[in-house]
C-alpha cells in the first residue's frame, strides 16, 4: 500500500469519542450532523429532491396523450421536461449547500 494509507485489514479498534467540535445529535447511535455549513451535513434544501420524486413516480399525473407538444403526447414530453427540471433542482441544491 502507498505510504500513509491506512491498512483496512488491521484489527479494527472500537471507535471512542469521534465527534470533534461539531454540533451533533446522537439518537441512540444514529448520529446526524446538523451544521449545514459543513459539506455532508443535513440541509433543508435536500427536501427539494422530494419534488422530483413525486413528479415522476406517480404515473396517474401524466398518463395521458393530451396536451400534445409538436405532436408528442403529454406522457413523453412531461417526463423529458422533468429531466431538465431535476437537473436544475440538483444544480440549485448543489450551489445552495456548497461551502
Amino acid at each position: 500500500m502507498p505510504p500513509g494509507t491506512p491498512d483496512p485489514f488491521k484489527s479494527p479498534a472500537p471507535s471512542g469519542s469521534l465527534w470533534g467540535g461539531r454540533r451533533t445529535h446522537d439518537w441512540g447511535g444514529l448520529a446526524i450532523n446538523t451544521s449545514p455549513t459543513k459539506r455532508g451535513g443535513w440541509s433543508w434544501w435536500y427536501l427539494l429532491f422530494v419534488v422530483q420524486f413525486v413528479a415522476v413516480l406517480w404515473p396517474p399525473f401524466y398518463n395521458s396523450v393530451e396536451p400534445r407538444w409538436i405532436g408528442i403526447p403529454f406522457f413523453y414530453w412531461y417526463q423529458m421536461l422533468w429531466v431538465v427540471i431535476s437537473a436544475v433542482i440538483t444544480a440549485a441544491i448543489y450551489l445552495a449547500t456548497a461551502d
Binding site: 491506512p6 483496512p8 471507535s15 413516480l57 405532436g71 408528442i72 440538483t90 448543489y94
Partner: protein, 515 residues
C-alpha cells in the same frame, strides 16, 4: 459474407482501431504505478469532474441500454419509458449518499463496497456476501454488453454461423482484455470520452433527421398501436401498470449505484465535490436515454419490421434489431459505421469497467480476506488483472454458447440481488446502528425471497403482490429490499441484546464521511 456493408464496416473498424490504440496509450495518462491496485483499479483516484462525468456515464449508459431500451419501446411501447424517471430518481441518491462513501473510502484506502462494509461493520462474512453478490450480479451484465456488439456486427452484414461469425466478437474481446490488463481503469475512462462523443453525434443527428424523414412526431406517434402508446389504465382493485412502472423506475435507481462498476466509477473521482457536480450534470445522459426510447417508436413508424432486408436480422436478434435496422434504413453507410461504432465501443467501455470492478471485489474481499492475507502490491494488482481477464472470458463463453435469453434472465435476477446490499452500503454510510448479523440475515432473506418471487412469475420483473383483496404489481427488487430492511430493523435490537460485544466495531470515524 456477400451482404457485408463494406463502407460501414471500414469506418467501424477504423474507429475501433482508434480506441484500441487509445486503450493502450491510456496507461500513460495521469501516470501512476499500475502495480498498485488503486492505480490499476481506480485510476489513482484522480479523475476530475469532466472525466468522471464520462466514466460514470459510461457505466450507466451501456451498449445494452442503447439496444434494449429502444427494443422494449419497439415491442412493448410506453413501459420502456421507465428509463426516464429511473434516471431522474438516481441523482438525489448520487448526491446524498455517494460523496460520503467517497470520503470514507479515500480516508481508509477502501477500493470496493466489500472493503467499506468490512471496515464499517467488522464482519468478514457480511463483506463476503456483499462481494459475491457484486460479482455474480455483474457477470450477466458484461455478457449482455457483448450481445450489443453481436447485434451491430450482425447488422454490418457479418452473418452466418460458426467461427467466422463469432470472430469479430472474439477480436473485440481480445482487444478489450488486452488494454484492460495493461492500463486498468484509465483505458475505459479515456475511451469513454470517444464513445460519448460518438453517441451524442449519433443520437442528436438521429433525433433531428429521422423525424423529418418520417414526417414529424405526430405521424410517428400515430404509427404506434394505441394500446402501447400509454400505460394501460389499471383495472379495479389493482395498481396495475402504474405500480409496476413506478417501482421499476425506483428499484432500478436504487440498484444502479450498488453495482460494483458504478462504485468503481465514483471512487475513481478525484474528490467528493466532483461527484456532487456530476449529479447536476449527468442528467444530460438521462435526456439522451429518453431520446433513445423514442427511437423504438421511430423504428415502428419507419416500418423496419416489415422490410425484407431486415428480416434476417430480426429473426436472429428479435426486437434488439430495431435500432440497427432503423439506422441502416435512415442513414448513408458511412454514418451507419459511426453509429454502430458508437454502440460497439459503448459495449467495450462498461464491459471493461465491470470486469475491473468485479476483479477488485474478488482480489480484496475474497482472495485477500480468505486466501492470501498479506499480498505485496504487485501480487495484489496482478491478481486483479488475472481476475478481470477470467471474468471477461467467462462472459464471452457464456454469450457464445448459451442462448441470450438466459443472460437477460440472469441480469434480471442480478438486479434483484444487488439491491439487497442497500442496507449495508447505502445506509451504512449514514449510521452504524444496524447489527452486522442482522444485515447478513436481511440480505439472505432478500436474496431468497427475490429469487423465489422471480421464478414464480417466470423471470419477469414484476410480482403481483396480493394484500387484502387488492393487487399491487411491483418490481420484485423494491418489495424484497423492503423485506430486507424490515428484517434488519427488527433483528438489530434483538441481536445486539444477545451479543456479548459492548461497543460496535467500526474502523471508521464520523469525521471520515465529510470532506
Amino acid at each position: 459474407m456477400q451482404d457485408v456493408n463494406w463502407t460501414a464496416l471500414i469506418i467501424f473498424a477504423l474507429l475501433f482501431g482508434l480506441i484500441t490504440w487509445l486503450g493502450f496509450a491510456a496507461a500513460h495518462w495521469r501516470k501512476g504505478d499500475l502495480d498498485l491496485l488503486h492505480e490499476w483499479g481506480l485510476g489513482g483516484r484522480r479523475f476530475g469532474t469532466v472525466v468522471t462525468w464520462f466514466l460514470v456515464g459510461g457505466d450507466v449508459y451501456t451498449a445494452y441500454t442503447f439496444i434494449a431500451v429502444p427494443a422494449l419501446a419497439f415491442g412493448a411501447g410506453a413501459v420502456a419509458f421507465f428509463a426516464v424517471p429511473y434516471t431522474i430518481v438516481i441523482y438525489p441518491f448520487l448526491f446524498l449518499v455517494f460523496p460520503r462513501l467517497w470520503n470514507v473510502c479515500r480516508k481508509h484506502g477502501y477500493i470496493t463496497s466489500g472493503d467499506f462494509v468490512r471496515g464499517r461493520f467488522g464482519n468478514r462474512w457480511l463483506a463476503l456476501a456483499i462481494a459475491i453478490t457484486g460479482i455474480v450480479a455483474t457477470m450477466p451484465y458484461i455478457a449482455l454488453q457483448l450481445v450489443g456488439i453481436q447485434v451491430v456486427v450482425g447488422a454490418l452484414g457479418i452473418s452466418g454461423t460458426g467461427f467466422a461469425a463469432d470472430l469479430p466478437l472474439i477480436i473485440a474481446f481480445a482487444v478489450l482484455a488486452a488494454f484492460t490488463y495493461s492500463s486498468g481503469l484509465r483505458a475505459p475512462a479515456s475511451i469513454a470520452i470517444v464513445k460519448d462523443i460518438l453517441i451524442y453525434i449519433t443520437a442528436f443527428t438521429a433525433i433531428i433527421v429521422i423525424p423529418i424523414q418520417l414526417g414529424g412526431f405526430g405521424k410517428i406517434f400515430a404509427a404506434v398501436p394505441p394500446q402501447k402508446l400509454l400505460l394501460a389504465v389499471p383495472g379495479p382493485n389493482t395498481t396495475g401498470a402504474y405500480g409496476s412502472y413506478a417501482t421499476l423506475a425506483l428499484g432500478s435507481a436504487l440498484a444502479l449505484f450498488l453495482y460494483p462498476h458504478s462504485l468503481t466509477g465514483i471512487l475513481s473521482a478525484s474528490s467528493s465535490h466532483a461527484i456532487r457536480r456530476n449529479a447536476a450534470m449527468l442528467p444530460g445522459y438521462s435526456f439522451m436515454l429518453g431520446l433513445l426510447a423514442l427511437f423504438g417508436f421511430f423504428a415502428i413508424a419507419a416500418g423496419v419490421a416489415n422490410l425484407p432486408q431486415y428480416a434476417v436480422g430480426f429473426k436472429q436478434f428479435g426486437n434488439n434489431f430495431a435500432v440497427p435496422a432503423l439506422l441502416l434504413h435512415s442513414f448513408p453507410s458511412w454514418f451507419v459505421g459511426i453509429a454502430f461504432a458508437a454502440i460497439g465501443i459503448g459495449a467495450l467501455v462498461p464491459a471493461a469497467i465491470m470486469s475491473i470492478a468485479a476483479a477488485n471485489l474478488y482480489t480484496r474481499n475474497i482472495h485477500r480476506e480468505f486466501i492470501n492475507q498479506n499480498p505485496t502490491d504487485r501480487q495484489e494488482s496482478q491478481m486483479a488483472k488475472w481476475a478481470s481477464l477470467i471474468v471477461k472470458l467467462g462472459a464471452l463463453v457464456f454469450i457464445l454458447f448459451v442462448p441470450t435469453q438466459y443472460a437477460i434472465q440472469l441480469q434480471l435476477l442480478g438486479g434483484i440481488w444487488i439491491i439487497q446490499t442497500l442496507p449495508s452500503v447505502m445506509l451504512g454510510v449514514y449510521s452504524r446502528w444496524f447489527n452486522d448479523w442482522a444485515l447478513l440475515l436481511g440480505w439472505a432473506a432478500g436474496i431468497f425471497a427475490g429469487t423465489a418471487m422471480a421464478v414464480a412469475v417466470n423471470l419477469k420483473p414484476a410480482y403481483p403482490l396480493a394484500l387484502g383483496g387488492y393487487t399491487f404489481p411491483g418490481y420484485i427488487a423494491v418489495y424484497t429490499v423492503i423485506l430486507n430492511l424490515v428484517l434488519v430493523v427488527v433483528l438489530t435490537p434483538l441481536f445486539n441484546a444477545l451479543s456479548a460485544r459492548r461497543l460496535p466495531v467500526d474502523q471508521t470515524a464520523e469525521a471520515d464521511y465529510f470532506a
